[in-house]
Amino acid sequence: MSVLRTGHGRGAGTGDRRGVQDGAARAARTRAALVRGALMALPLLFFAAFFGYPVAAIVGRGLHQGGRWQFGRVGDVLGDPAVRHVLWFTCWQAAASTALTLLLALPGAYVLARLDFPGRRLLRAVVTVPFVLPTVVAGSAFLALLGRDGFTDSLLGVRLDTSVWAILIAHVFFNYAVVVRTVGGLWAQLDPAQEEAARMLGAGRLAAWRRVTLPALLPSVAAAALMVFLFTFTSFGVIQILGGPTYSTLEVEIYRQTAEVFDLPTAAVLTLVQFAAVLAILALHGWTVRRRESALRLVDPARTAHRPGGPGERALLGAVLAVVALVVLLPLGVLVARSFDTPNGYGLAFYRALGSTDGGTFSVAPWQTVGNSLRFAAVATVIALVVGGLAAAALVRRSGRLLRGFDALLMLPLGTSAVTIGFGFLIALDKPPLDLRDSWLLVPLAQALVGAPFVVRVMLPVLRAVDDRLREAAAVLGASPWRVWREVDLPMVSRAAAIAAGFAFAVSLGEFGATVFIARPDDPTLPVAVARLLGRAGPMNYGQAMALSTVLMAVCAASLLVLENLRTPSAGEL
């Protein structure tokens, strides 16, 4: 029999002990903060050195002229009605594109995450292909869909090119995968049992979805919406090609002011305006998402997929396939067809030409750019995964304004003009200790800047959904915090990580904006090579551009398929 007595023990002595122990709790909190700080250190340093510093340098160069800060320019530029018009158009087309993309792609996310049908993986890779295509190439394919004698013209008698619809639909084409991959990544792991439980309790299919699935998905839907918005907000090529000269976005204006007119003060003000708009969007996103991310029951994605059953699901599958075929496959098909359509009939002449060096565009054969692109993309993906992964790990536990600020900082590059970053690199990274003037690293660094936010956005909702008690269970079993991360978080997040890596890779493969402004030794990437070929007259150049674009698509799709298969298998698949 135990002799231990219990008590309410509020007696003397506890008071002064409490003082000491408050310190202990504080120390624990301090330690947690330190760990977070350590995790954040590398991403912070990365973004400070390769984003904050270059952008500040170019903006500073613009606003600090003649030895004085020229803040008067802010008023001048903002007072210009043309600028306000551009800002307004930039914002609303981005909002409309985002809404349309969500509308069309969310069913796709469901179908690709939950329904099991032949060719699902291939389709998932294929819808990501547009994401890497240079807009110049895709834009011209889109004309085949929406322009004269195009699909809509011959079928409906409607020409949509140079209308705002062309811009919106093209944005769907480019960003379909953002939604499918970001939302689908989580959707595939949501426990269907919960929705089933709600339905057992009498909720209809739609009500169950709305009450159970939608709230659970909301953080990743918001993340996808944010990324689509930022991409369309900084849209350049699509606006130029499909919108025509009457439509102009902030991005186009910043490009013009920086690269053509060379009015750096105006460019600087526009960049600040862009920042302000992006920060406002980030604040809105944060406000939407905060407190809605919760621990979810995540399960093995292999278990959630099922064959489409019932007429409803089959109709949904059909509708999604139709949208994908029309909006994604058709334009891609046009490009592929053109790559074989040589002056002497269909054949492989353009592909053969890719192997020769006498085209004059490069000192290397165009096909060698495939190697360059893969190399840059691999390096950029590793950088983005490390930086983004650490940042996501630091951000898992929500707290504090500071951390939210950090979260927002990570997203800023997506909403920043490529020309700003490219020129910023140029004038900022040109002296020791960061003298990267002609280092090949500049390219993957710039690419990782765009890839890392993807990694964070894709991984964070999944990480936050991991039940904290699983981590505690591991800790109590003897796992140190690092082991907990490796043993619990990593396996749970490996699928998201693979998706994020795919994104980062695709982003890098297709990145053109910042890369083209970074002068570098002659190892052009695929998109740069395509652009150079397109910039020249003649069937051989154009044909090679199409062939190289097709190669780019194939490389992208193949890489994504490989990446997805690298994904760690679930337990039980011994």
Binding site: T381, R532, G538
Partner: protein, 370 residues
């Protein structure tokens, strides 16, 4: 039971290894980084660095010959289009990235010179270059390397089929016969677009071009943002435009476009499908200059001399689709056979361009895009 973790780790290891291998391939392949350090090491360097825009190209064999003749290897840094490249050079003039800059044309020349981008150097073979392209002849801060004409191109097939004579001059373009046939580029975003505007301004004068453009507009001129779109998508005469179902038989392009359209076509056609309206041309001249603060001045000078040599000059046309400035350079047969001879292109002095450019662009926007 540890398969999961092991596979994750091995996947990561694989990725890292692949990266390392690829990175290794890259540095051995491009040999850029090592040479870069050599440049930094000072005057005795055997590398000369050329900074240029994305369109710069030269045959490997030609560059090899330069190395053979002078002992210098050329490293080329390229970034952006011509405008961006010049602006980048100005931004980095305190820490120049190379020794020679190539690719500033007459529309941007004043900006480059006013910013003190270049050191004077009188190239060896300057005597072979006509005076009218030596726009900085007094100071020799830049050396003309090539010229090219921006002209309206026409779709031969279209005009033959419609029994219509193709236009030849600026004035022709506003005639009702050519209504809704021309596509040109936005002067704010496209270099040929700007050149076409400058050509009209040179022809009609500071006070007259606006009226000309109003007529062009009422005659149905279409404006797109880039040359790529105009030529590859909208123009009916190019092979790309044919695939894209372009329906504009007139496009603002280059005098060198017709030969480009027959490269790679077998059997060789008698005529290029594209013709040039030689009375609508504006001449662009591209210059090279020794960058102020260059590390390898001697190498830079040698490179400029080489770019004016017959070897380089005769290599240029098929590499960059431009005309050599050297009077004794022999053009490749395809240029001779299919190219157009432009005798009296419109020109404007760089100072006039610098002074008027922004106003004209603004006025043009008001007339054409509104």
């Amino acid at each position: 039971m540890r398969t999961t973790a092991r596979r994750a780790v091995s996947a990561l290891a694989l990725a890292t290894a692949a990266t390392a291998v690829l990175a290794a391939c890259g540095s051995s392949g491009s040999s850029g980084t090592d040479d870069g350090k050599a440049t930094g090491s000072g005057g005795g360097s055997k590398t000369v660095t050329l900074v240029s825009h994305d369109s710069f190209a030269a045959s490997k064999s030609v560059l090899a010959q330069f190395t053979k003749e002078t002992g210098y290897t050329v490293k080329v840094l390229r970034g952006g289009d011509a405008g961006a490249a010049v602006n980048q050079a100005i931004l980095t003039k305190d820490h120049p990235r190379g020794d020679v800059f190539f690719g500033v044309d007459n529309t941007l020349l004043s900006r480059a010179l006013d910013n003190g981008l270049f050191e004077p150097y009188t190239a060896k073979d300057l005597a072979h270059v006509p005076q009218d392209v030596q726009l900085d002849a007094g100071k020799h801060r830049v050396t003309p390397i090539d010229s090219g004409d921006v002209c309206v191109n026409y779709d031969r097939g279209y005009f033959t089929a419609h029994h219509l004579a193709p236009p030849q001059t600026f004035a022709d373009l506003v005639k009702p016969a050519y209504k809704n046939l021309l596509v040109t580029e936005n002067v704010s975003t496209s270099s040929p677009g700007l050149a076409f505007l400058l050509g009209s301004a040179a022809t009609y004068g500071d006070g007259g071009w606006q009226d000309y453009w109003k007529q062009l507009k009422s005659n149905g001129v279409e404006v797109v943002d880039s040359w790529e779109q105009a030529y590859n998508d909208r123009f009916s005469g190019s092979s790309a435009g044919k695939q894209a179902k372009g329906d504009r038989p007139l496009v603002v392009s280059y005098a060198s476009s017709p030969p480009a359209e027959v490269v790679g076509v077998t059997p060789e056609p008698a005529q290029s499908p594209v013709g040039v309206a030689t009375g609508t041309c504006f001449r662009q001249i591209e210059f090279a200059g020794l960058l102020h603060g260059a590390k390898n001045t001697a190498g830079g000078k040698a490179l400029i001399d080489f770019m004016l040599s017959r070897t380089f000059q005769q290599d240029m046309p098929l590499q960059m689709y431009v005309d050599p400035v050297r009077d004794d350079a022999v053009e490749p047969p395809v240029f001779v056979k299919y190219g157009a001879k432009v005798d009296h292109p419109a020109t404007l002095s760089p100072d006039t361009i610098a002074a008027k450019r922004d106003d004209w662009v603004g006025a043009w926007n008001g007339i054409v895009l509104k």
